[in-house]
Amino acid sequence: MTSGHHFCAQCGAAMEPDARYCGMCGAPVVAQPARSPVATPAARPAQPPPATKSGHRKFGGPLLMVLAGAVLAVMAIAFLAAENDDGREETNRARPDAMQTVGNQGGTQTAGIKPDAGDFGWKPYVNSRYGVSIDYPSSLFTPGEAPPDNAGRNFTAADGARFFVYSSANALDENLNTLIGQALEGIAPDAILRRDMAPDGFTLVVRREGEIVIRRLATSEQGTMLHWLEIGFPPALKDRYEPVADRMLSTFKISTDRATADRQTEAPAGIRTTPVPPATQAGENPATAIDLPVTAWIYNAPGEGYADLPALIAETDQLADNRIGQLTFVCQAAAVSPAYFAMLVAPSFQSGDAAEVKIAIEGAGAQGTLFLPMRDLYATKGGERPDIDWDATILFAPVAMEDLGAFVKADALIVSAGGANWRLAGGISLELAGEKFLAACEGGDLPESNSPGGARGPDEFSYRTVNSANYGFTVANARGPAGLSVDIPEGWVRVPNTLEHELIFASPDDDPDAQMFLAIRAEPAQGRTATKALAEQVAEMQSMTETEILEQGPANAAFAPGRRALLRFLSPQDMPGKMMDELVVLSRGDLVYRIELTVPEPVWHTGRQVMVRALASMAPAR
C-alpha cells in the first residue's frame, strides 16, 4: 500500500501516490520499486509526453498548418479589400468627369460652369446661421419649409429627386471613421459606388432604397461642426443629375471666417449687372471697417412717419461716414407668409443699377455672411418688391425669415458694399425692437396698401399710477406729509429691500445691459436748496466714475420747483458702454425729492420718456 506523497523529480511538486505524471509540470514519474505486490494490469501508461530537456517531438506538421493558415488569412483580407475597391473603380469609370472644385477665379469673373450642368436657373442657397452655401438649380428643386432651428433646408423636385443641407454640432466628438461607418450602416458593400476621404470630410455615393444617394460631410471648426449635403435621385435620371450633383458638390462651401470667398451669382434676368470690384471681405480686416454707431434700432409701425410697412430702422450717428445710407428691414403680406426685405435707403456708394452687398453678422447665435444682390427699387417693376413709396434712392433685396432671426440676435452687423465695410453695432436694442418687428410681421395685421396702421410703436410705454403709501414710504423727521403718487411704466417692479424713504422701480429686463431704473427718494432739506442738493449729487457721481454733464437747468414739474441735470458716465462695474443718468431734485416744504432715472445709453431715447411722464404725473398723495 502506498503511504505518503511522492514529489516530482522535475519541479518538486507534491504528487498523489499513484500518479504517473506530475500534475504541475507533466514530467513522468521516475520508475520506483513497486510498493504494491500486485501490479495492476490496467495501469499501463499512455504514450508518455516528452521530457522537457531531452528529445522533442517534431512539430513540422502543426507549423505547416499555421503557415498555411497565415497565408490564407492574408489572401482573405486582400480579397476583402479588393472587393471593396472594385465597386469604386466601376463607379469612377462610369463617371465622365471627376469632381472639380469650382475655384475662386476673382471677383469679376464668372465661376466656371460646366456646360452639361444645364441651364437650370442656378441660385445660391445660403444658411447664414452656419455659414453654409451651395448653388442649386432652382428650376428643378423647390425649397421646403425652413425648420425652426434654421439648421438647414430640404429641397424636392417633381421627378423624385431631392437634396438637403443640414448642419449640427459634433456633440459626441465622433471622428470621421465613426461617421462614415454610421453613414454606411445597412449598406451592402456592393452598393457602395464611391468613397472619398478627406482630412475634413468624406463623400459617399451609394445605391439605397431605389435611388442613388450622394452624401457629403464637411466639418469645420476643427471637427466640432458637421455639415451634411445629401442628394438623391432615381437611377433612371442619372444622366441629368450627375452633372447637376457635380456642380452642387463643388459649390458646397462652409464659411469658416464669417466671410465666404467672393462668388459671382447669376443676376436675375432683366437686371443690368454692373461689375463690382472685389469687395473687402466682411470681417477680414476689422481695422478698415468704418464704425457706424447705432444709437437705436427703431420699430416703426405702419403709418408712422414715412413707414408704409412695418419697418425696422437702424438710426446711426449722423456724424459718422454712413455712405450706405440707412439699413432698414420691412415686411409685407404675401401669398403664404410675409415677405421680408432688406433695404439701404439713400446710399451714396453705388454706381449703376445694382450692387452686391454683403451683410456679416457678429454675436452669439449668428454667424456667416449673407449675400444680398440688391436692386434699385424704383427701377424694378413688378415681381417681389416692397410696396413702398419713399422719397429716396432705395436698394432692396429679399431676405429669408431665418436670416432675419439671425439679425435679431446679432451684436453687430457688418455691411460690405462698394469696396468698403461698415460696422453697425447696437445689438442690444436690436433684439428688443427686432422681436417686435417680427411679431408685427408674423401677426398677420399687415396692411395691403398704404393704409395707416397702429398709432403707437413699442418705443412708447404704457403707465400705471402708484401711491407711495402702498409701499410704506415714510420720511423720518418730516414735518408734513411726504407721500406722493407718480406714473411708472407698466411692468416695472419695485426693487425690494430699499430704505423706507426710497422707492426704486426697475424695468423687466433680464439683460443688465438693457435694464432701466427710476428711483424716488425724499429727505429733510436741512436748509439746502434744490440747486445745492443737485450739485452735491453730481459731485458724488463724479467722484465715483468718469462723468460728463450733458445738460443742466430747471426742472419742469408741477409737483414742486427744482433743478435738473443730465449726466453720462461709465458704469462703475466696468460694464460695456455708458449709462445715462437724469437727476431731478425738487424742493417741497421741508423736504427735497430726488428723482433719478438711470438708463443704458443705447436705449436712452426710449428711457427718457419715463422721467418726462414721472415729472408730469407726480402729485401729493391723497
Binding site: 498523489e16 499513484d18 500518479a19 504517473r20 505524471y21 506530475c22 500534475g23 504541475m24 509540470c25 507533466g26 501490479a39 494490469p41 490496467a42 499501463r44 501508461p45 499512455a46 504514450q47 508518455p48 509526453p49 516528452p50 522537457t52 522533442h56 517531438r57 512539430f59 506538421g61 502543426p62 507549423l63 505547416l64 498548418m65 499555421v66 503557415l67 498555411a68 493558415g69 497565415a70 497565408v71 490564407l72 488569412a73 489572401m75 482573405a76 483580407i77 480579397f79 476583402l80 479589400a81 472587393e83 471593396n84 471613421n177 461607418g181 454606411l184 450602416e185 445597412g186 449598406i187 451592402a188 458593400p189 457602395i192 476621404m197
Partner: protein
C-alpha cells in the same frame, strides 16, 4: 454525452460567476467615474486602462504557466467556442456591411488552420483517469506570433471596414480551430483509454 452536458453546465456556472465579477467591476468603475468632472469620458478611460492591464496580465500569465499541465475540460472548450461565435455574430450584426460568403469562409478557414496547427503544439497525456495537456515552447511562440499578427492586421486595417471584418473572422477562426482540434484530441484519447481498459488484461 451526459457527462459533456454536465461539464458544460458546470462551466456555464463558472462563466456566469466570472461575468458577475466583471459586471461588479464595471459598476465600481462607473461609481468611481461619477466623482470626476466628465463621468462618461472618465469611465471609458478607466475601461481602456483596465483592458490594457488585462492584456498585460494575460501575457504575463501565459509566459508563467504555459508549461503547466492542466486538465482538459470539454465543457470549458465548448463554452469558449460558443462565446467566440456569439461575439462574432454580434460584431458582424453591428458592422452591418457583411463580406461575401466566399471571403468570409476563406478568412474563417484560414483562422481555423492557424488555430488547429497551434493546438497541435500542445501536449496531451493521461494522468490516471484525467486527460491533461500542457504547452511547449512552440506553443508559446505561435501564440505570440498570432497575437502580433492580430494587432498588425488591426493597425493596417483601421478605417477599412472590410479588412477589419476579415481580421475579426481570422481571429474567431483561430479560436474555433484550436477548440475543435483540442476536443477531437480529447475524445480520441478518451476512447483510447476506454478501449485499453475494456480490453482483457494481457498477460504480463
Amino acid at each position: 454525452m451526459r457527462a459533456l452536458i454536465a461539464d458544460i453546465a458546470g462551466e456555464l456556472r463558472r462563466f456566469s460567476r466570472t461575468v458577475l465579477v466583471a459586471v461588479a467591476g464595471l459598476f465600481l468603475m462607473a461609481v468611481a467615474s461619477l466623482f470626476s468632472d466628465a463621468p462618461v469620458s472618465m469611465f471609458f478611460r478607466l475601461l481602456s486602462l483596465a483592458g490594457t492591464a488585462m492584456l498585460l496580465f494575460s501575457v504575463v500569465m501565459m509566459i508563467l504557466v504555459f508549461r503547466k499541465a492542466s486538465q482538459v475540460k470539454p465543457g470549458a472548450l465548448v463554452v469558449s467556442l460558443g462565446v467566440t461565435l456569439a461575439a462574432l455574430a454580434v460584431q458582424l450584426a453591428i458592422r452591418g456591411a457583411l463580406p461575401s460568403p466566399f471571403a468570409a469562409t476563406l478568412a474563417f478557414a484560414a483562422g481555423g488552420f492557424i488555430g488547429a496547427g497551434w493546438s497541435r503544439t500542445r501536449l496531451f497525456f493521461v494522468d490516471g483517469e484525467i486527460i491533461r495537456c500542457r504547452g511547449t515552447a512552440w506553443y508559446l511562440a505561435i501564440w505570440g506570433a498570432t497575437f502580433a499578427l492580430n494587432q498588425f492586421m488591426a493597425a493596417l486595417a483601421a478605417g477599412v471596414p472590410a479588412a477589419m471584418t476579415g481580421a475579426l473572422l481570422v481571429g474567431s477562426g483561430i479560436v474555433a480551430g484550436s477548440t475543435v482540434e483540442q476536443l477531437a484530441r480529447y475524445y480520441r484519447i478518451a476512447r483510447f483509454g476506454e478501449n485499453r481498459r475494456n480490453k482483457p488484461a494481457e498477460a504480463t
